[in-house]
């Protein structure tokens, strides 16, 4: 599978070959950071820059657990701007629309390189216009953990929002006014960055639980406010009422039942989108009807999944990030709701990796091609609108990967001859469920055999493409400039696709 001209790949990178290629290599681990003897408490971002002597060209990392409610990233950007630092490399686990200040820093050459897992909003537009001097590298959630522990992503200073910190410098995400729940994406940064800083607005005598142990922490910065926890709510955390989305969800649940995945001990992951939550709802009804108890649900956790835990439908939740405040409350109080690091969640080399234990995962797509390659990185115009997050990780790990999507979105087909950007390789994508039919990857003969005689509307993916073209016509293929602005890095470190400047 090669979606780009290998000649365009910068010399220090290797092209993607197969999703299982990582098995042929050993895990690479750089030494964990030196344990700190003392934690220094500071009172401003300015003091932090002065004390740590943050200078041109350094790599600063961040987590995105406060999502659109995060204040810390922007405060650090303002300090970079004030000091007019140059050629900075930023490595936040995600960038959101509220991080708009970064656009100006990119245009001014303060920030020249970014490594992240997810990116949308004004910063994505700035990079897409080719205004960043260096490269954007887009990792998966598990891939970022791998990149950090292997030294592919070297972090000078990890600046980690910590909603609560104790007097020793331990931190967690479950206490304080800005509680955001799991801090799963921060753990690799904590262990492998040269220097670690916790930024908090709440220092208390002792913590209910330690997520960020002080032995890894060098500095604590106490601010008045690190964020607005209401902003952590993900894009959509309500079950869709759209009849198309509900039909897709209903058929997905029926499909899972016919494939015999609704059974005792089952494990699952769904996203936080309206249709994914509707799938969870229909799966829940089937579990209740059959008196099923699953082993675990994982990933980003919403209140709907918390309800399933509380109703006894799962033994445990493994939570890498909380998508809403109900999930935050649950992870704080329910011992069966467990935080997990991004490495345990999805790092291909982590011996405990959770994604490999998943029975099924429900994922979305902005585009899917007739070889089942999925794009969740760019839209139909080539604009960057997201990124893998855990998409490729869970698609590889789960026994069955199901993409749920309306066939037509804004009068455009999601099924293409060829996707604009490959985020997740088709070899790991098993089934596409749309309102106009369900396409099973023909390579999954075991699934097709199980579904023989099914009354579900099974169709070849080519038929879905043909149907969508009959209804909406064939869109003109978008043209992008030849300039490579970024790399889509697969979880094993190979490059699965390139990102180009918009025309």
């Amino acid at each position: 599978m090669q979606n780009y001209d290998p000649k365009l790949l910068p010399a220090s990178f290797v092209p993607f070959t197969a999703s299982s290629a990582f098995k042929e290599k050993q895990r690479v681990l750089i030494p964990e950071k030196a344990k700190s003897q003392t934690v220094v408490f500071l009172s401003s971002i300015k003091a932090l820059f002065d004390t740590l002597k943050i200078t041109d060209g350094m790599t600063l990392s961040f987590h995105h657990h406060l999502r659109n409610g995060d204040y810390v990233f922007n405060m650090v950007m303002e300090e970079i701007k004030k000091r007019n630092l140059k050629n900075m490399h930023l490595a936040p686990s995600a960038i959101f629309p509220n991080n708009q200040v970064l656009s100006e820093l990119i245009e001014n050459g303060n920030v020249t390189d970014i490594t992240t897992n997810y990116l949308n909003g004004p910063v994505a537009e700035t990079i897409g216009k080719g205004l960043m001097k260096g490269l954007l590298i887009m990792d998966t959630h598990g891939g970022r953990a791998r990149a950090i522990e292997s030294g592919d992503l070297k972090i000078d200073v990890a600046i980690l929002s910590a909603p609560a910190v104790d007097l020793k410098g331990n931190g967690n995400g479950i206490e304080g006014p800005s509680a955001c729940g799991s801090l799963g994406y921060a753990i690799s940064d904590l262990k492998y960055a040269k220097k670690v800083v916790l930024v908090t607005d709440s220092i208390i005598d002792s913590l209910k639980r330690v997520d960020l142990p002080c032995e890894y922490v060098d500095y604590v910065v106490k601010l008045d406010k690190i964020g607005d926890p209401k902003g952590i709510v993900s894009g959509t955390t309500k079950i869709t009422k759209d009849p198309i989305g509900l039909k897709i969800a209903r058929n997905t649940a029926k499909l899972l039942d016919e494939l015999d995945f609704i059974k005792d001990g089952m494990s699952m992951q769904t996203g936080a989108g309206g249709t994914s939550l509707a799938v969870a709802q229909y799966v829940k009804e089937k579990m209740q009807d059959k008196h099923i108890k699953g082993s675990f649900a994982s990933g980003g956790i919403t209140g709907y999944i918390v309800d399933m835990l509380n109703e006894g439908l799962f033994e445990k939740l493994y939570d890498v990030q909380c998508f809403d405040l109900q999930a935050v409350e649950s992870i704080k109080n329910n011992p069966a709701h467990l935080p997990m690091s991004a490495s345990v969640y999805a790092n291909p080399y982590d011996p405990e990796v959770i994604v490999d234990k998943l029975d099924f995962v429900i994922l979305g797509a902005t585009e899917i091609d007739t070889n089942f390659n999925v794009n969740v990185t760019t839209d139909s115009k080539g604009l960057i609108i997201g990124g893998s997050g855990g998409h490729s990780d869970t698609a590889y790990g789960a026994k069955v990967t199901i993409i749920t999507s309306a066939l037509l979105k804004s009068r455009l087909s999601i099924v293409k001859d060829k996707v604009t950007t490959v985020t997740t390789p088709g070899e790991d994508v098993d089934i596409l469920v749309t309102e106009r039919g369900i396409a099973v990857n023909p390579k999954r003969t075991n699934l097709l055999e199980k579904l023989a005689g099914s009354k579900l509307p099974l169709v070849p993916i080519e038929k879905l493409l043909e149907t969508s073209q009959r209804i909406a016509g064939t869109p003109k293929r978008i043209e992008l400039k030849d300039k490579v602005i970024g790399l889509v890095r697969y979880r094993d470190g190979s490059i699965i696709d390139l990102l180009y400047q918009y025309k």
Binding site: P243, K247, L408, E435, R470
Partner: protein, 271 residues
């Protein structure tokens, strides 16, 4: 909405040119529906167009714009025998002019007290393939409060069920207008089914699944029907006219009922 009309598992889709369309938008709506119908291929359900009533200046243009082999029936608001007769005449002219292959059906809506009283005359009309009860307007005409319990429409529902059964056409229940009350919808549909109606109109696609569940044969009924038909075959092989199953006598009406259940199960891919 139109683009996805064929995505849902209803037996028919009703495209409305009447109350859902503002008087200033009638032409646009007709054009939209016309071009939509032209683009249709392989639609898995019947297409019914609700036209404006014959006492309005719109119905003839509606019929000219939408009647073609792509549709199956027109739905007629505030229907009576005279309006059904009039529409039958106009349809005949259009079918001849357009040299159509199909004979378009009429689904009258009973939504006046006079319509209830004239139900049998309406059901007799040759093109009438089913009758829909329109309980909202009917309750206004009857000057009774429309309630979720549906006590006020017990009589017209029962009359519709008997009339349609007698003339072998579909008895279509009035829609349940609260689009978020799924438990209420199910209860309402069960009441209609218990009276003998065999279909129900939905006003939101999210209602279709529940209506299908209520009006489709249950797994238990299908198993029973299969056993009856198997026992019938065995009895016929032994030249028995009447026989028993589980201690109960099985005769022609029971066999007919079992056959109907299996036919419906096959229609809905349940068998």
């Amino acid at each position: 909405m139109l683009q996805n009309a064929d995505c849902f598992e209803s037996d028919a889709v009703i495209i409305d040119l009447e109350d859902a369309v503002h008087v200033n938008e009638k032409d646009n709506a007709r054009n939209l529906v016309h071009y939509y119908l032209e683009s249709l291929t392989d639609v898995p359900m019947e297409i019914v167009i609700r036209i404006n009533a014959p006492d309005t200046p719109y119905y003839e243009d509606d019929l000219k714009a939408v009647v073609s082999d792509k549709i199956d029936a027109v739905m007629l608001p505030k229907a009576g025998p005279r309006s059904c007769f009039l529409i039958d005449q106009v349809l005949t002219i259009i079918e001849n002019e357009k040299k159509m292959q199909k004979k378009i059906g009429i689904v009258p809506i009973i939504e006046t007290t006079m319509g209830v009283m004239q139900m049998e005359e309406i059901a007799k009309m040759p093109r009438v393939s089913g009758i829909l009860l329109g309980a909202e307007d009917l309750s206004v005409d009857m000057e009774v409060e429309r309630t979720k319990t549906g006590t006020e429409i017990w009589y017209p529902r029962a009359k519709l069920a008997y009339t349609c059964k007698a003339y072998k056409i579909d008895a279509i229940d009035t829609p349940f207008t609260d689009t978020t009350d799924y438990a209420g919808l199910k209860e309402d549909a069960l009441k209609a089914k218990a009276l003998g109606l065999n279909a129900k109109a939905a006003i939101h696609p999210n209602q279709i699944d529940i209506i299908n569940q209520v009006f489709s044969p249950s797994e238990k009924q299908i198993i029973w029907a299969k056993r009856v038909l198997k026992a019938t075959e065995e009895a016929q092989a032994k030249n028995l006219g009447v026989f028993s199953l589980d201690g109960k006598m099985v005769d022609k009406p029971i066999i007919d009922r079992a056959q109907k259940i299996i036919k419906m199960a096959q229609k809905y891919h349940l068998e």
